[in-house]
Point group: C2
Chain length 295, copies 2
Amino acid sequence: MTNIARNFTDIKHHMTLVQDSICQALEKASGDKFKTDEWNYKQGKGGGLTKVITGDVIEKGGVNFSAVEGRINEKLAKKMKVSSNTEFFATGVSLVLHPKNPFVPTVHMNIRYIDTGEKWWVGGGIDMTPYYPNIDDIKHFHLTLKKVCDQHRADYYEKFKKWCDEYFFIKHRNEARGVGGIFFDYINDDWQKNFNFVLDLGNSFNDSYIPILNARKDIAYSEENRKFQYYRRGRYVEFNLIYDRGTLFGLETQGRIESILMSLPPLASWVYDYKPTAGTAEAEIYKYLTPQNWV
Amino acid sequence: MTNIARNFTDIKHHMTLVQDSICQALEKASGDKFKTDEWNYKQGKGGGLTKVITGDVIEKGGVNFSAVEGRINEKLAKKMKVSSNTEFFATGVSLVLHPKNPFVPTVHMNIRYIDTGEKWWVGGGIDMTPYYPNIDDIKHFHLTLKKVCDQHRADYYEKFKKWCDEYFFIKHRNEARGVGGIFFDYINDDWQKNFNFVLDLGNSFNDSYIPILNARKDIAYSEENRKFQYYRRGRYVEFNLIYDRGTLFGLETQGRIESILMSLPPLASWVYDYKPTAGTAEAEIYKYLTPQNWV
């Protein structure tokens, strides 16, 4: 466990290290380079670094870092049980990758930290959305997350996996967004341990996801595979625009639109009443979209 | 003005006539045939006829008719100022067309009627979303709507056009969804006149939109034009999934998902921080996405 001081400079520094390490691993795996956009937070101090990658391996991907200071709005204040207008510092790293190859799952990860001086919280999560699922990939992904969790608290994996299954669920389709992962929010029992946990989660991305990307990115695929990927990406759009609290909160509070909606896929399709034929490779995924134990 | 009796059979009959007449006009204009799905309303009596067209003129389009009877849920009861659990009859025709040619605008129309025995209301609207705007088309579209409105009440067009501009606005983008049209809801001052007004609106579709489709459907277009259309269709998805009350209400009340989400485009794309170069054909539309007078 790294000993970290609870001051904004150190906290930001550790967050940017996570962003850098992930971006380096993704550049190595894809052969493409990230482009960087620096932006300022209009409603207060600070801003962010949005890093975007586009190419034949990652068709569209973004790894965002932000660190902002301002005053908490009414809605968030209620949720956080602090008086509205309280000063806050918030920082985090979030990523969504839409790989081009339909045999590589889409992935999302987010680690976040909020501090009001008096109180503080950490939150985060990671979840994977395959199109053509591979059970070994899913097991590897979950086992890696379980390992990170187990190093911190014995009940984290079970608890946070369940939280993830509940959160990333597309109610109107009665389908999970994918094969889950972990999700947690407003954790604040031990500053040093909790902050180290989110950093460990961030740093585990190169172990949980990158090997899957490397193993599947060169599989040959057909136009039909791509079409199915576009179709399933439609579900990703549905989840993010209808249910994702982070997205909706960002839009309501006039965050930086392009950074918030970076999670949306480069191409998505909606086909009226489409159902894959039983027994085809396209029908496989539907067996995986019910929360279940993977480890 | 057609004299119509306020009974469910007659009301439904007139609604289906609107659906039929529009579908015939679209089949003639496109050379393609609609496929029909009949469905039952699980939470009560009745159901609907979903008609879907897919082809080289209309890439994806649906013209829905539904007529259902049931008990009003709490949320809607509050809005309609009736006690919850009140019996209701609701019927309507709704359509969304996503043409393939990027020079043809996307269009949406909806006419609806609700009756609780004691009370009743009509509502409806139509709005157009071009990718490469043509001022003559927009003027023709709005003038046709104005004509329909003016035949019923002198203040309808101005009032309902404003309502449309306010409703079909994508707040987080600070952009209108398109060039507007008209929108109105919970109108109930004179049964015969109000019901005839929604029918006239429905029947005006073949005058307002079909001529635009016919005039533009064979314009040559490039892959770049298509890409821009995919990109702008992303905004349509954003509006429908984040703001459209009909869509969200349908999803919350477990309506027939495939009929509700039929409004979503066959292909849509999101490109990080895309802005068309000033002076290009792609930059044109942005001058049109601020509510303005067209007639």
